[in-house]
Amino acid sequence: MQELRFNPLTDEWIIVSTATQRRPVQPTEVECPICPGGVEFKDVKTYDIVSFENRYPSLRRDAPELDFKEKGPFRKERALGVCEVVVYTSDHDSSLPKMPLDQVAKLVKVWKDRTRELSNLDFVKYIFIFENRGKEVGASLPHPHGQIYAFPFVPKRIEAKIDAMRKWFERTGKCPICDVIENESWERTVYENESFLALVPFYARFPYEIHIYPKRHVSTLLELSEIEEKDLADSIKNITMRYDKLFEQEFPYMMMLFQAPFTRDEISHFFHFHLEFNPPKRDKDRLKWMASVETGTWTFINPVLPEEAAKRLREVKI
């Protein structure tokens, strides 16, 4: 069963995909399906970076046709889309903080190319690039990899961001992230290079949440120059190294890239491309649960002062 169902209570689409139940969870190292010679790369001796369509996709190009008649509030759509896995390196034991900077820079190029190619598909409305690192956020394989979802709709939280950024622009005449960059102080800054600013935002929802903002107003990855690509790679590597060093472990996180939807050019002047790192831990050992208040109301209770989290992350020697 694979389909989209509409929720009229929240005005959002739900993906129903029973295939994802069959996904492998934490197999042993010898079984790693995305190592050279593994299930996905049987005849491949080595590779550099690979993106491939997920064996257990939530959305697919050839989504099943629906035999369904809309009735009252019940609406369905085909689960059209693409779900890709992006393997960062053939080295099973590597990760973003351990990878050479050049490899992370290549990964940014791959993200750009995937974005360009997938956004040309007629049914694609939004491209979401992300990485779940660690079992705490449900990563099923330890081999360094991320994912890309090419959605047939603009997801709810993206719509919320667009609405909020539009509202700010209409009130102030400025893109809100440009405004943040202009007014941000050192106390929340974690790392900065020529093109990017990494900070624990004033409005962090998770303890140790970090955002990476390009200093130049761009709305998508595609607009980054080669120098900016390298600077983004440098920011990502730097931040993930700080996480691991501060907490003396492979610190789990959800890394998410937020681009403006490609089919809606009218928002590019106020939508600022950015990354979010949402770590699920409140310290070395304890988890920050997405419990009733967070899940039910979208209201987050952050137990760590953002300025304090930023100070700790900034002072890590890497």
Binding site: Y47, V50, F52, E53, E170, E223, E226, D265, E266, H269
Partner: protein, 543 residues
Amino acid sequence: MKVFGKGFTGGWIVQDLGNGKVEWNIDKVHMGWIVRGFVEGKPGRIEVFRMKTPHRVLAGGWQSWSPFRVFKTDGYEFSYQRSWMYKDTPRPELGNILSDYFFATDNLVVGFLSSKTAHGYFTLEGDEIVGWLDYFDAHFPNRIQIEPFVILEGKDTSVLLEIYASMVARESGARFSRRSPIGWCSWYHYFLDLKWEDILKNLELSKNFPIEVFQIDDAYELDIGDWLETKEGFPPVEEMANAISSHGLVAGIWTAPFSISETSRLFKEHPDWVVKENGNPKVAYRNWGRSIYALDLSNDEALEWLFETFKKLRDYGYRYFKIDFLFSGAIPGERKKNMTPVQAFRAGMRTIRNAVEDSFVLGCGSPLLPSIGYVDGMRIGEDTAPYWSKGKDDGRPSARYALRNTITRYFMHNKWWLNDPDCLLLRGKKTKLTSDQRELYAYTVGILDNMVLMSDDLELVDEDGKRILEETLRLRGGKPRVEGLMEPDEKYVVKSDGTLSGNTRIEVDLSKGKYEMTVEEYSYLKKEKVFKDGRIFNFYEEE
């Protein structure tokens, strides 16, 4: 500013038009205001908007070939040629048309979001610009929605035009293939002298180019209107398609489906299928040394013929349709049914789309807003030519002004359809274009991410032409924006971030036919696509 003769107020307002009634409301939208409403009865021409005329406006006519440029409003005069009177507007007799559908000035865009029933346009009345919705002679017993219109302000004109284009796309139901094919077209080398041998020769030579679509243009047909019959020297239409397909190319064909020549078999057999004036066939325009009438698209029998014609062409193997001189389908006149010319035009477009299904449809010589949702690509300028410019900037062929429109209408691309900038002419012989002009045209088209179509005797495209083509294709894929739209000196800056060659910028001076381009030094990853158990794997590595 005034809306329906009143200042901006809240709530619904009802106005008696004498022969009808209009109800309207104004709301705030991002960057401006939107007016929506309803109309009923026999509204004719309604004034919907009025403002003090700015010093200069970016404006243009209703269809593909209409020049779209900056006009100084002081001393502005509207002129037209008698034999092409509907080329720039369906209302030439008014004599003071400034722009159709929308206009822009510094930090302001005013425009209609659709043209589903009425034709929207702007006239210059003394020191004011007046916006109109024209329902012609149609009568509406039940109320219908007016074409919404917006007033956008507070940002740079280019940004506002991009916002306007996105709003139009949503309101008008834009739907098109995002796959932009690389094509060849016979017109700009062979024109009407095309021979079947030329087709066969270029089909063979096309192997040396990344051509996907091979389109036969005007010249093969028996007459304008007799699309399924070929003239002497050409094989039957079906065989032409087979010859193209057998070379592994998508077969494309040119037609002018809403035009009927006075000499055609179609007109002789169905003289009542044309738009009339005082009961007689009305001349839509004169071309090919003949009078051309307009197909009455309110006539069910004519629509059935149209459907069958295109269905047959599709059955013969054509999957790419360049449909030309479309404005004739929307000229005012007497039609069989009570409907506006816009409604009739859209019925014709819908019929073609239904007949060709998912084939690629390229509009040309077409009213702009009413075509949205029916075409995949659209010509947005006058014809190009194998020379830079000759004569006035009034829609006649020239590379200079074709490229000008490609630049000034850039914001329509990828929102309403794929912009067709007209063909690149890359041959080094039998052309008056200099190497600089060929490059300028091609590179600007690439940076604007437009369709890439060639029109040369491929035998005459040398290594330099191939290099220009290759570089042009590598300039696509970015997010273009034009700066300097409101400047009257034909100097523009086109920037595009994220092209296949990295971030690029081209400064063009059309009056001199010169350019300066900056391309980022960008390194690529090599990509290999592998198909395995129904899935796509992309292997990336450094080049």
